[in-house]
């Protein structure tokens, strides 16, 4: 059977968009929010984790290969998907239709937030050349400042909410489009489980923001040895 390769490419690209939303991008989001929430336990565990990450071998390759490329791919495909659909949630007011629109909206908001967030963190870190043990005090200093203004808190709250909503609703979409949740009950129960997961992740993120806001403690670079 001969089939135009264009169709196969289309199928693979959309499946990859779906998959990259879970791994590595979604997995990264979960790990990222979890590690950050160490800040609620204390500034030392947090610094320890950042030190560990910034001393990983081939860090820049890991970041590019496992985060930046998949994220950029997922985002560009995401904007293509947004462009193909046309929301009609005001005409057909059903819950799922509303979530469909929210999935697109939060994707776009997350994209904007990530430009800002990466600019003030990794971007600044690379620009100033703060590597290994120098990264943690530099980053913690920036974050301490960001969470002192209501604008900063607002931007992070919206950003975190968009990302966790988009991810949780996205896991549901993934499970439906790959045929993991098929029946009506299965789909509804899955939605409840993933909503709970989303609330948990949002809580982790916002607790971290609150901790930074209330206890902006500066740190010294860890001295090896």
């Amino acid at each position: 059977m001969i089939k135009p390769a264009k169709d196969e490419i289309h199928y693979i690209l959309l499946k990859l968009h779906s998959l990259t939303g879970i791994v590595p991008v979604g997995a990264f989001l979960v790990i990222h929010l979890s590690i950050n929430s160490l800040r609620t336990v204390g500034v030392w565990p947090f610094q320890l984790a950042i030190d560990a990450l910034n001393n990983l071998p081939f860090l820049i390759l890991i970041e590019i290969g496992f985060i930046y490329i998949p994220l950029l791919f997922h985002s560009l495909m995401g904007f293509y998907i947004i462009h193909v659909g046309k929301t009609n949630m005001f005409r057909y007011r059903y819950q799922r239709n509303w979530l469909y629109t929210m999935q697109r909206l939060t994707g776009a908001i997350t994209f904007l937030f990530l430009i800002y967030h990466m600019g003030t963190t990794v971007g600044a870190k690379l620009w100033e050349g703060k590597h290994q043990f120098e990264a943690a005090p530099f980053l913690i200093d920036i974050l301490n400042g960001e969470f002192q203004t209501w604008q900063g808190i607002l931007v992070y709250t919206i950003g975190i909410f968009s990302a966790t909503f988009h991810f949780s609703n996205g896991v549901w979409g993934f499970c439906v489009s790959w045929g993991i949740l098929i029946g009506k009950n299965a789909q509804r129960n899955g939605a409840i489980v993933f909503a709970a997961m989303g609330i948990g992740l949002t809580f982790l993120g916002l607790a971290t923001v609150l901790e930074f806001n209330m206890n902006p403690i500066p740190v010294e670079a860890t001295v090896a040895g």
Binding site: H10, G85, R91, R96, L181, Q187
Partner: protein, 249 residues
Amino acid sequence: MTDKKINFKIKRQDKPGLPSYWQNFQVPYKPFANIISCLMEIQRNPTTKAGITVAPVTWDCNCLEEVCGSCTMVINGKVRQACTALVDNLEQPIALEPMSKFPVVRDLQVNRSRMFENLKKVKAWIDIDGSHDIGEGAIMPDSDRAKRYVMSECMTCGCCLEACPQFSLNNSFMGAATFNQVRLFNLHPAGSMNKEERLDAVMGEGGITDCGNAQVCVEVCPKNIPLTESIADIGRQTSWQFIKNLLVK
């Protein structure tokens, strides 16, 4: 009673490609009137509310009992069958529009051949003829029969496509009705012999990956077909098919 009127606002279009325009009509009230009976009244007396005699409004209908799907149109903003839309349950003036996602033929008539083309693409039938006797068919479990019965009720009306945010006049999305047919025929013991061909047909542009899970289709389907179950099932079947294509072919 006799001077009670039913008010209509109808979107009209004289020919394919021409701009559309609205006209208001009034017909005498009759209890239990439906949209088709009112359209027939307008056909008998094609005079607008302003008193101008115009060309009668055209529409499609056939069974008048919600089994053929031909009278599907947008009534007060929602897609549904005109024959089962009772005037007494509708807010006036009743707005009638042709479906927006199919090319208009004239007034309320649209061309739904895209749906039939898609049925051909996915071979929505079972091959039973051969040049030789191919024997009796396999037995089907009753649970499959029951599932297939519900799916088989599709009347190709187009509601699920009209209401779908991913389906538009100028893209190639196949839509829920088509995916449901793939599931229907793949579940049949004889139909499953062409399973892979059907799956391949929905694994390209406009295929299963282009569904965004907005699930409006299942809400508007007049036959209550579990379309989102069919979509998820075809999602599963195509995912396996993809892995198989990668590893076996």
